[in-house]
């Protein structure tokens, strides 16, 4: 063992490292956050204003003008095999995909954090039961569950949200449980207990506030995964039922034309990338900002 390898990070050294990391990261975090929020904000705005921004109808077919290249009069991004305007469909798809992503993130976030927090704080039998359930769900094959659900509930947006929630709340539950277990032995939590504060208050005002940063950050990066998941479902034909547009289905529909009519797949693909990038940047910025505090 060399001397340097055993240097514990104390005093000035640790302080300096923290400080310089904080300085470096707060600049980087602000930039990440700003760019991320801008990308997602523009996309959401575009989705909301889809009806205004694009005069065309997302599902009206116009066979004579099918497969028009980008730049064609009235179709800045071209048309698909059925003559539907690609830009219009992408805007409406943004509505579907962003809405589903938000729903499929908020629901498991809320459920998972609530369950995990209670399990972590209570410990004992409650904790053992929750941990058991979490482990079972972790081991469960997602696709099988989803296909089963599609059979039961029928394909559609609610099915996707329910399915994603059933699977992904466990990640939040596990994360929240571990964070709460660490936090509950902190002196300030003990102090709150000694002060006679009710448990609900200790959990909500004290513990949750101190641990929520990580699950929220995780949710942002999870949203990226969920958008990719929804598009993958669309591609497999298990997603949003036609003719409602979504980026995944659009790419799936474009499959026969990949080599001849590139715009059909590339533009929705770019939209997915942009949404993913925006959410990742937000997640990154948030986590750096929170870590620095």
């Amino acid at each position: 063992m060399s001397i340097s390898s055993s240097l514990s990070r104390t005093g000035v050294a640790a302080w300096y490292e923290r400080r310089s990391r904080r300085r470096r990261s707060s600049r980087g975090a602000d930039a990440s956050l700003a760019i991320g929020v801008a990308i997602i904000g523009i996309m959401m705005l575009a989705a909301l204003l889809a009806g205004v921004l694009s005069p065309a109808d997302p599902i009206r077919q116009d066979i004579p003008n099918a497969l028009a290249p980008p730049g064609t009069d009235g179709h800045p991004l071209g048309t698909d095999a059925l003559g539907r305007d690609v830009l219009t469909r992408m805007l409406y798809a943004a509505r579907t995909d962003l809405f589903v992503a938000v729903g499929a993130v908020l629901l498991p976030l809320a459920i998972g954090v609530a369950v995990g927090t209670i399990a972590g704080y209570r410990g004992g039998i409650v904790d053992r039961v929750v941990t058991g359930v979490v482990n079972v769900v972790f081991a469960f094959p997602v696709m099988v569950l989803l296909i089963a659900l599609v059979f039961i509930l029928g394909p559609g947006i609610p099915t996707i949200i329910v399915a994603v929630t059933l699977v992904s709340w466990v990640s939040y539950a596990r994360l929240a449980r571990d964070l709460v277990r660490r936090e509950r032995s902190m002196d300030y939590v003990l102090a709150a207990k000694v002060s006679g504060l009710p448990t609900r208050r200790i959990l909500g005002r004290h513990i949750l506030r101190n641990i929520i940063a990580q699950p929220v950050t995780f949710a942002m990066s999870d949203a990226v995964a969920i958008i990719l998941f929804i598009t993958a479902l669309g591609f497999l034909g298990l997603g949003v039922p036609p003719p409602a547009p979504d980026w995944g289905t659009m790419i799936a529909d474009a499959q026969p034309y990949f080599t001849t009519h590139w715009w059909l797949a590339v533009f929705p693909g770019l939209a997915i990338c942009a949404a993913g990038l925006g959410l990742s940047l937000i997640a990154d910025g948030l986590s750096q900002k929170w870590n620095a505090q």
Partner: protein, 277 residues
């Protein structure tokens, strides 16, 4: 003889041990039958080294640890682990580590007002704010601290804030768990002096947990020396420090690092002194 405020009888705490020496998985006997009582208005110290059971005993008293056996009586009534509001309020604690004992995301004012309101010690928000400000006066902190978060304060200042929080509910017993051992030497003195002043002004009853006999000497009337989960000696601070009866106390006293006495005449001053700061 006055009725004791706190009476601990045959207190036993055992933990299930997850890991042990070379696979020896058993139970750790942290406290193995401890008796003591604290009279109203007195400062009673539990002294011992790490693992002696002193902190576990303190945690039982404030209700953060469930005793395996034994009874704790407070003001004549038994203290169950599930205490009522009034019992919780009556026993407060100050913690060792000033850096983890305050909620980092709450302003000092919000934390104090929360406690005051939960215990209905202030009618309305304004009264609570006024009381919080008084508490800061009491511990020698500026009122501007109300709007600041713990991060803004040094270790000694945080310890003062921790004391303010404990005093917010006007407890009858204050349990202090090594309140100065995490502080720098020059800061220790000011916190000890504050505790002494509060003791004198408010007539606080204190259960003081420490490893340091010199610190105990400053604040306490009686002391019990703990080793391996048992009280090995109990008496007035003067007795125990000067005529220890237990071997362990003697070892502890021998190990205490002392300073040679100052050989300076502190009254000797030249006429020209103190440029005003």
């Amino acid at each position: 003889m006055t009725e004791p405020l706190l009476d601990v009888r045959d207190l036993v705490v055992t933990f299930a041990s997850g890991r042990g020496w070379g696979g020896d998985r058993g139970r750790i006997h942290a406290v193995r039958g401890v008796d003591f009582s604290v009279r109203p208005g007195e400062a009673f110290a539990l002294v011992g080294e790490s693992g002696s059971g002193k902190s576990t005993t303190a945690k039982c008293v404030v209700g953060l640890q469930k005793p395996t056996r034994g009874s704790i009586t407070f003001a004549g009534a038994p203290l169950d682990p599930a205490r009522d509001h009034g019992q919780r309020r009556a026993i407060q604690m100050i913690f060792q580590d000033p850096y983890s004992s305050l909620n980092p995301r709450m302003t000092i004012g919000a934390a104090l007002i929360e406690i005051l309101r939960v215990h209905r010690l202030a009618a309305g928000r304004e009264a609570a704010e006024r009381r919080a400000a008084e508490l800061l006066d009491l511990v020698g902190m500026p009122r501007s601290a109300l709007d600041q978060r713990p991060r803004a304060f040094s270790g000694g200042q945080r310890q003062r804030l921790g004391i303010a929080r404990a005093l917010a509910v006007e407890p009858s017993l204050l349990v202090a768990d090594e309140p100065v051992s995490a502080l720098d030497v020059s800061i220790q003195a000011s916190v000890l002096l504050l505790l002494k002043q509060l003791q004198r002004e408010l007539g606080l009853t204190m259960l003081f947990i420490s490893h340091d006999l010199a610190v105990v000497r400053q604040l306490c009337d009686r002391v019990a020396v703990m080793a391996d989960g048992l009280i090995v000696e109990e008496g007035t601070v003067g007795q125990v420090l000067t005529e220890p009866s237990a071997d362990f106390t003697r070892t502890l006293l021998a190990a205490a690092t002392d300073l040679p006495p100052l050989d300076l005449d502190l009254e000797h001053r030249q006429p020209k002194q103190r440029s005003t700061p």
